[in-house]
């Protein structure tokens, strides 16, 4: 058997895959958060960053395909292992089992499934820009001027998008479940890959908790700050547009013209 078969056909091999792809996705989460936190700067900052990314299609598509592969492997091993685990006890206990197990550790698949559905929504919301899902209108109409160039107005899209209560709520719920997933998953990852002993285990658990709390706070303050009108409210008022608007409203062009200087 070649090495790929050996890994895929073994329960531990799949655990390694799950841990390694989970680690890669975690690294992406850190990078993505740092990018998004630029919302707390002036509009040009995050718009310029988004424009920079768009100008490097090879890099962006490379990263996207890599992430897609990680997500696919992570889910494929999660689901096949979950099936194996479900068949390993054909008859359930009458009493409640799972003695001594943390809640998060028992709900990795459900939290994972909510995370996937959130990711699908998030991509439709801010990447594909499906107008139907954001409760505002057609974000692809939003343009800002940057160095005399018309670029997508990511700042405007975020400040308008997170004024919608149910969108913010969904984002917050998804982040809470992601926190649960990572609080258990990041520590379990070290266990799966064999990096653990009695000295390091408490430290690993502490660091896993700290990293998941940091991501939870980081990802939650963005929609919250906007929803509470602490960030970008004036800007949103300036560019507010009617749903179904086909072209950017005059107010938008005027506002952008002023800022481009």
């Amino acid at each position: 058997m070649n090495i790929f078969d050996r890994i895929w056909n073994s329960s531990l091999g799949k655990k390694y895959l799950m841990a390694l792809t989970g680690a890669a996705l975690f690294v992406f989460l850190i990078g993505h958060l740092l990018g998004n936190l630029q919302i707390f700067g002036p509009p040009e900052l995050i718009n310029g960053y988004a424009h920079f990314l768009k100008s490097k299609p090879a890099m962006v598509w490379g990263a996207r395909l890599g992430l897609l592969a990680c997500v696919a492997l992570h889910i494929a091993s999660a689901v096949t292992l979950a099936q194996l685990n479900a068949t390993a006890r054909p008859q359930a206990y009458a009493t409640k089992g799972a003695y001594g197990a943390s809640t998060a550790s028992q709900y990795m698949l459900p939290t994972g499934i909510v995370i996937v559905s959130f990711v699908v929504y998030h991509l439709a919301h801010f990447t594909v820009l499906l107008p139907g899902v954001n409760g505002v209108g057609d974000f692809s109409n939003l343009k800002a001027t940057l160095h005399h160039e018309q670029v997508p107005d990511v700042y405007g899209m975020m400040v308008l998008g997170f004024e919608v209560g149910w969108v913010v709520l969904f984002y917050l719920v998804a982040q809470a479940l992601l926190f649960m997933h990572l609080n258990h998953g990041l520590a379990a990852m070290f266990q799966s890959l064999g990096f653990r002993d009695h000295v390091w285990w408490p430290r690993i658990q502490f660091l896993a908790r700290a990293a998941s709390v940091a991501l939870l706070i980081g990802y939650c303050i963005i929609p919250l700050a906007i929803y509470l009108r602490l960030v970008g409210h004036d800007y949103a008022e300036m560019i507010r547009f009617k749903p179904k608007a086909q072209t950017a409203p005059p107010a938008l062009v005027a506002a952008q013209g002023k800022e481009a200087k």
Partner: protein, 258 residues
């Protein structure tokens, strides 16, 4: 004291089972849980009913034969002891106690509370041994073993192979047992020649027996009568990873000393 028992009764593997409720006779609170079952069985036998079948042997926590899931926890309410070391004083007069067999696909039921744990033996046979040395017995302590390694190996060697880890795990995973057996030999010099081969063979046998995979819930460690640590699972994962990367040894072509 008296208790009410709700016990799983099943004639054999192919007959569906169900819970039956029994009132115990007057008990001494210093009876062990198994002695309580003996007394209840005596009563059943006197009434002409089939006694409750349950596994037991040493009754002092060293053989790993006793089992039972008592009110949802393998080996009863306490930490670090087996069912045979559980005493009736841990329960209150009038308690209803639910007693179930260990449940896992790889531990098929034989009768009532007795299940077949031979899958553990097959995992042991797959690699839980060291190269045999023939000739005169070697001098004691002729092979130096660092003290921390010896201590860890002894911790792992505590495993009595009872299967409570499997019974407790929501995935019916045998990783704690297998990792204890792999580590106990893999930590000492005598176990080095087969270290990676052993890890591979025992884990593969574990998979073949139909046990689930680990999701690091920690239930196994929490119920283990010998308090085997999850650290050993990490050790097993490390050794198995090396074995996976190495693959099976290539057959040598041409034969002989080449």
């Amino acid at each position: 004291m008296k208790v009410t028992l709700k016990v799983w009764r099943q004639k054999n593997r192919n007959t569906p089972g169900s819970f039956k409720t029994y009132e115990s006779p007057e008990l001494n609170e210093n009876m062990s849980f198994l002695e309580m079952l003996d007394v209840v069985n005596e009563q059943l036998a006197n009434r002409g009913e089939e006694p409750i079948a349950f596994d037991h042997d040493c009754r002092e926590g060293i053989c790993g034969t006793c089992s039972l899931v008592i009110d949802g926890k393998p080996h009863g309410p306490h930490k670090g002891i087996a069912t045979c070391q559980t005493y009736m004083r841990s329960f209150k007069n009038g308690d209803e106690i639910v007693v179930e067999p260990f449940r896992a696909k790889a531990f098929p039921l034989i009768k009532d509370l007795v299940c077949d744990r031979k899958s553990f033996d097959r995992i042991q046979q797959a690699g839980g041994f060291i190269t045999v040395r023939t000739g005169a017995a070697p001098d004691a302590n002729s092979i130096p073993v660092p003290k921390p390694d010896a201590d860890l190996a002894m911790d792992a060697a505590q495993c009595i192979g009872c299967g409570a880890c499997v019974a407790a795990c929501k995935n019916a995973s045998a990783m704690l047992f297998v990792s204890a057996k792999i580590s106990h030999l893999g930590l000492v010099p005598q176990g080095q020649p087969e270290r990676y081969k052993r890890a591979k063979a025992m884990v593969d046998q574990m998979d073949a027996e139909g046990f689930g995979a680990c999701t690091v819930t920690g239930s196994c460690e929490a119920v283990c009568p010998k308090e085997i640590s999850l650290d050993f699972i990490a050790r097993m994962n490390r050794d198995y990873g090396v074995a996976l990367l190495k693959g099976d040894p290539k057959a040598i072509k041409g034969g002989g000393a080449g």
